[in-house]
Amino acid sequence: MARGPRVIGPAGDVAEGPTLAMRDVSLRYAGAASTAIEDVSLVAQPGQVIAVVGRSGSGKSTLARLVTGQLRPTRGVIHVCGLDTTAVTPTVVAGRAGLVFQNPDHQLFARSVADELRLGPQHAGVSGPETDDRVREAASALQLEDVLGAHPAMLSMGLRKRVAVAAVLTMRPRLLVIDEPTTGRDAREAGWVADVVRTFAASGGTVVVVSHDLALVANTANLVLVLAAGRVTASESPGVILADEALLAAAGLEPPPLVRLALALDLGTGGTAPLTIDEVERALRARLGWRPQP
């Protein structure tokens, strides 16, 4: 992206207390032999980015739907901004927690991008002028100004994904949940995902990002949850998770190239992988006795 997104984040005062609190949450789909989510507890504060990783079928997308109120737990409690998601309708939760689906075609309905962006606020009873403001802001943040009149079906997969994110942002959620933002899209555009996630968190929101793109995880997350068969098998900083090749392999993942390079050169320190190229460069220069970058 040539220019960064405008700051776009939650509306109004930042809530006191955690954005998301899950306690001993389990979910079993009707008729299923085993639980999709088993005893998951998690507290997420404003400004935090939590990555959820794991194999297909490990429960990642189920977790995304639980924390946005689209599924209700079989056991346990989920609070979003202090609100018990089992006590209110999904529409009420949608004003606080927004979910971007893995496949944008599952959430795009309108005949133009502009109509799509208006849909959420209109249904929530937001005034016309306020809706227009939100649409302009979201379109600007995702750089969709040039395609506002286009039919979403006429756009590339990458653009459709951006429309889906913008549509969720027009609801001004405090919790933004993105399911596999960098799959099924043009990888050349992937930079915007990290920008949106970081900007949203920096402005006081909380992000849960479900992804197997570990470069994105390394770039954005403060905390990584590894899911296996519905259970949290690890909950650590990205540096610790990415340095643990055995853990990643068990979750069907590979370290990103930067971490592979650092591990191949034995640059990990104390079981923590370096997450930026600057760190790797410094470690290499120190080892080789080369002058630090002027």
Binding site: S56, N103, D146, V147, A150, M154, L155, S156, M157, G158, L159, T183, G184, R185, D186, A187, R188, E189, A190, H212, G252, E254, P257, L258, R260, L261, A264, L265, I277, V280, E281, L284, R285, L288, W290, Q293
Partner: protein, 282 residues
């Protein structure tokens, strides 16, 4: 041996200045691609990399509002002039949205569709379809409805459809967008197989996954604002990418080597290459 792809002074203009699929204009491109090459094509969105791929299949200009000038010859045929069926005999395309390519009710019918339309005998169609499905790891999926497959499985089906045609030129635009790393490497392995098999084709892969392309491409083309600004080995083109800060981000190996070595014109492009490069210097 004459080139399989010849492009001379190729100019593509979009009447509205842009394309809703994000394909940019081309402002005068000349190049040749021969059998046996696995060409990686890179560039930021709108740079023209995808437009080049679409010109080879004829999607541009036949299915778009674009104007095309200059010479495009794929196995001696101009995709703008020659009919779809005749182009289908020589060039096969895989796109980043496999669901948009699906037309049939079963996986087997989908793979057979192109060959049936060209009038191949049933036995040959069956043999080629079985072979293609095996190569992409979809044997056993013959009777499935393509729309019930996962995104990754659909992408492998689109690739099976392409390789079943045994094209002279195989064009893939973001073929690994739906795939995890092992499956993505398998796609590049199929492209290499097409390029180096007994009847070698030219394989052309447009991808934003520069890290992936770097380990497989025999040649890299770098597009910027409609112009071909880099053409050579990955080690040379990506070194220029890292140094000049043009095009998409270079692989971490290249970026790091560029920071550590202010001079070299050839830099490593893979983790393995970097370790060897460093050993030479330490």
């Amino acid at each position: 041996m004459p080139a399989l792809v010849t492009i001379r002074d190729l100019v593509v203009r979009w009447p509205d200045g842009t394309d809703t699929f994000g394909r940019g204009p081309l402002r005068g491109v000349t190049l040749e691609i021969g059998a046996g090459e696995l060409v990686g094509v890179i560039g930021l969105p709108g740079s023209g990399a995808s437009t080049l791929a679409a010109c080879l299949s004829g999607i541009v200009p036949r299915l778009t509002h674009a104007d095309r000038e200059g010479v495009v010859a794929v196995a001696g045929r101009d995709p703008e002039v020659v009919g779809v069926a005749d182009m289908a005999r020589v060039v096969a395309t895989v796109l980043d949205d496999p669901e948009a390519q699906v037309t049939q009710r079963t996986v087997l019918d989908e793979v057979a569709f192109g060959l049936e339309n060209l009038g191949y005998p049933v036995r040959e169609i069956e043999a080629r379809a079985a072979d293609a499905l095996t190569r992409v790891g979809l044997s056993g999926f013959e009777d499935r409805d393509p729309l019930t497959l996962s995104g990754g499985e659909q992408q492998r089906l689109a690739i099976a459809c392409a390789i079943a045609m045994r094209p002279r030129v195989l064009v893939m635009d973001e073929p690994t967008a739906n795939l995890d790393p092992p499956a993505a490497r398998a796609v590049l392995a199929l492209a290499r197989e097409a390029a180096t098999g007994p009847d070698p084709a030219a394989a052309i892969v447009v991808s934003g996954d520069v890290e992936l392309l770097a380990g497989w491409a025999t040649r890299m083309l770098l597009f910027d604002d409609g112009r071909l600004i880099g053409d050579g080995s990955p080690e040379v083109v990506l070194a220029a990418c890292a140094r000049a800060g043009v095009g998409p981000p270079a692989p971490v190996a290249t970026e790091l080597a560029a920071r550590l070595d202010a001079a070299g014109d050839t830099l490593p492009v893979t983790v393995k290459g970097f370790v060897a490069w460093l050993a030479d210097r330490a």
